[in-house]
Amino acid sequence: MNPGAIVVAVLVAAALAVTLGVALGWAAAHIEPDADSLVERIDALLPQTQCGQCRYPGCRPYAAAIANGAAEIDRCPPGGEVTVRALAALLDRAPRPLDPEFGAPAPAQVAWIDEAKCIGCARCLPACPVDAIVGASRQIHTVITLQCTGCELCLPPCPVDCIELRPAPAVSQRYSQPRAA
């Protein structure tokens, strides 16, 4: 065999390795990994209750924590098993059971204010993460049922315990489409 060919082959391979190495090194330093879009995609799978049961202040901070590896995917009881499975599929990880430390999944619920007891202190208003409580100081408050996520964050600030959680109304009255004939 021609020893020259071996030398050429080694040189070509070496040149290739150096070129690609430099290119990859430059890319790693100069092209930002698309972290935001991963956070977006994780956030899109979370139920957006903004309840903080995962110990992060809202769904997006939890999504960011999952994306950078600070938190596991098993911390969202409102999303339940469905969300864990969806997250596992997105992140190519094995699904795992919900961590009971962060609470157990429960049927959807909404807050309801007993207007006879409400003293109009307005302390629950800033607690609501989705602005679903209408009211003002010394006026009776009420919850916009359709927009309440059932996060329970309005319960602790209420000085007279006039807020309770009730089962959420059915998502849809429709059981099936009307029949044709």
Binding site: P129, P178, A180, A181
Partner: protein, 494 residues
């Protein structure tokens, strides 16, 4: 007109119609009590405008609505409102708020019930509104408000009105009986509906297994001599009477997936609805009664009954000779698409075209049948009139794979039940698809709610940030002024 023979696939079924169709129509006298469901079968309810204890006359409006999918309800007999409460009803979900009226035996008629002097003098828009006020709803089985359909047909510029007299579902024959006995009413109603819908022509479609009805309607059309009103005879293939399938058969066009018939230039109404429109025009009568088939091996004398809306089904069954043998199920509708009823105390609704009192002989083959695994024979796909792939849909439905379900067109399923009927493994396919549609619907509603919550949360965060920034700025400007008293713009210095 040149009618295409039929739609894709479908199946000729045992009709079971001769039982009820051989006897004359029974006119039911006013019952002692009516139970008027405020949801007349569409899933949307009207709002009561009467109170308990109030006296009502025949034709008094008792519930009104602004919802396009709900219809107004009128008292079909004179008497006293004795209850407004949630009761078992012949609707999706099995319960609805009902107005219960005890009859006083008189036939006082409400002042609002006056014949329409000249329907032709009304503008189409007025006509649609008057039909809405009269509570006219589709009598073919869906109970959808006629006015809403007509209005959308006008807006989308439909050119053809199809009157559905196909009545393909086994057991049901009330439309057949109506066409044989009141063809002139149907033709008169057709003209009014054609005007209200703004279509150029009207086609009355009847299946070829109803020769007497075809003859009667042909004679009525000939008496009229209107070139834009024609008859189309379509083959008796189930589900010929399904709206989209009938439109394909009669007009040769396919209604786009997710679209309305009006998108294909067609609007469809039942022949019985046309007859009800004629009753409204000639007598001023809102929708107070309907013709309903009471049949099945579980009643003594199957027949068609004209009964006030709200009549308890027990009274209808009594008018048909009462129960016979061992009734197993009470079904609203026919054997293919009917729904089981909770009891015979529920009131007749506008959407109920048939009360099937079924015994084991009628529906027994499927009761207690063991569901076997799918053997991939493909019979379901051959039978599906929509051209779906039930095998694939079943897999996706069991896996709750929403994207796949959407791609395979689970929403285009018309719930005809043919896939169940032909399945050798006795898999309740249509039921699974109905369930899958509900879950899909719920998942989409949840996704919308989550998106809404995220947006509100983001807006709140931004608002709080802006407030914090503004506060910081105020603090800084006050601090700066305190440090330089000489620059105070008030000039108030010592």
């Amino acid at each position: 007109m040149a009618a295409r023979s039929t739609f894709h696939a479908g199946l000729a079924l045992d009709a079971h119609k001769q039982q009820a169709c051989g006897t004359p129509i029974v006119e039911l006298p006013p019952p002692t009590q009516v139970v008027l469901a405020l949801d007349q079968g569409t899933g949307y309810s009207a709002e009561p405008v009467v109170t308990v204890g109030e006296a009502v006359a025949v034709g008094t409006l008792v519930a009104r609505t602004d919802h396009p999918s709900a219809s107004a309800v009128h008292a079909p007999l004179a008497g006293i409102v004795v209850a407004i409460e949630t009761r078992e009803a012949a609707v999706q979900g099995g319960r609805s708020v009902c107005i219960v009226i005890d009859g006083d035996g008189s036939d006082r008629i409400d002042d609002s019930v006056r014949p329409v002097a000249d329907p032709a003098a009304l503008s189409p828009e007025e006509l649609v509104q008057r039909l809405r006020d009269a509570g006219i709803a589709g009598l073919g089985g869906a109970g959808f408000p006629t006015a809403t359909k007509l209005a959308s047909a006008r807006n989308l510029g439909a050119h053809t009105l199809v009157l559905n007299g196909a009545e393909c579902e086994p057991w049901i024959c009330c439309d057949d009986a109506l066409m044989r006995s009141a063809a002139d009413d149907i033709v008169l109603g057709a003209l009014i509906l054609r005007r209200a819908a703004g279509t150029v022509r009207c086609v009355i479609a009847i299946e070829d297994d109803k020769p007497a009805a075809i003859a009667a309607v042909t004679r009525a059309i000939e008496r009229l001599r209107d070139d834009a009103l024609t008859l189309a005879v379509v083959p008796a293939v189930y589900p010929q009477g399904a709206e989209r399938q009938l439109i394909t058969a009669v007009a040769g066009v396919e209604v786009p997936s997710g679209g309305l018939p009006a998108d294909a230039g067609v609007v469809c109404q039942n022949v019985a609805t046309a007859a009800a429109v004629a009753r409204w025009a000639t007598r001023g009568e809102p929708m107070l009664s309907r013709l309903v088939t009471v049949t099945g091996s579980g009643v003594a004398h199957p027949c068609n009954v004209r009964a006030p809306i709200g009549t308890p089904l027990a009274a209808l069954i009594a008018a048909s000779g009462g129960y016979r043998g061992k009734p197993l199920r009470l079904i609203a509708g026919g054997s293919m698409t009917g729904r089981a009823l909770p009891s015979d105390e529920v009131g007749l609704t506008k959407a109920m075209n048939c009360v099937l009192v079924a015994t084991r002989d009628d529906i027994g083959s499927r009761l207690g049948a063991v569901e076997l695994p799918c053997i991939r024979c493909g019979d379901c796909a051959d039978a599906c009139p929509v051209g779906l792939l039930p095998q694939q849909l079943l897999r996706a439905a069991l896996a709750d794979a929403h994207d796949t379900l959407r791609q395979l067109g689970v929403r285009d399923c018309i719930d005809c039940g043919l896939c169940d009927y032909v399945c050798p493994s006795q898999i309740p396919l249509a039921h699974r698809f109905r369930d899958a549609r509900r879950r899909l619907h719920e998942a989409e509603a949840m996704a919308r709610k989550a998106a809404d919550a995220r947006e509100r949360h983001d807006l709140r965060k931004r608002r709080l940030q802006a407030a914090a920034t503004a506060e910081q700025q105020t603090f800084e400007s006050v601090r700066d002024r305190a440090r330089r008293p000489g620059d105070d713009s008030t000039g108030d210095t010592n």
